[in-house]
Symmetry: C2
Subunit: 89 residues, 2 copies
Amino acid sequence: MIGGIFIKAKDPKFLARWYEDNLGIGFGTGIYFSFKWRDKQNTDEIGYTAFSFFPEKTDYFDPSTSDSMLNLRVANLENTRALLTKKWY
Amino acid sequence: MIGGIFIKAKDPKFLARWYEDNLGIGFGTGIYFSFKWRDKQNTDEIGYTAFSFFPEKTDYFDPSTSDSMLNLRVANLENTRALLTKKWY
């Protein structure tokens, strides 16, 4: 599942406010929102998908220079990291 | 909620295959996958978040020239369209 979508913007607060005012996404006065849903199998489990804007000069995406970043949820982060590290680095 | 994430890629099939082989995302032989989840309130309602790659020359994102596109689910598409059209166009 998608864990988060992060997008660089010239004016993150303005953009978040636009989404709040026009589409009702509850950013409030911030630049971060979290969609809430339930796991398809384990219906008691609430999941979160972050949606957030960042200033263009953020180092949060480093070393990527992309304007956007996608986070994915994995069942076991350490296993996934070990597997990818072994295969690709 | 996020309805879909669409990303232009030099080689969409290769990239989809990479995600399948390394992260287990079930693209199969295609370039389209759909995450499934449940609505937080109405737990009987299954929701879908598309995740798909497109060739760089696709016109699917037009008139945007961006490399990626984010779709949002809305409760009432016609109302949302009418509201945005009235306010912004």
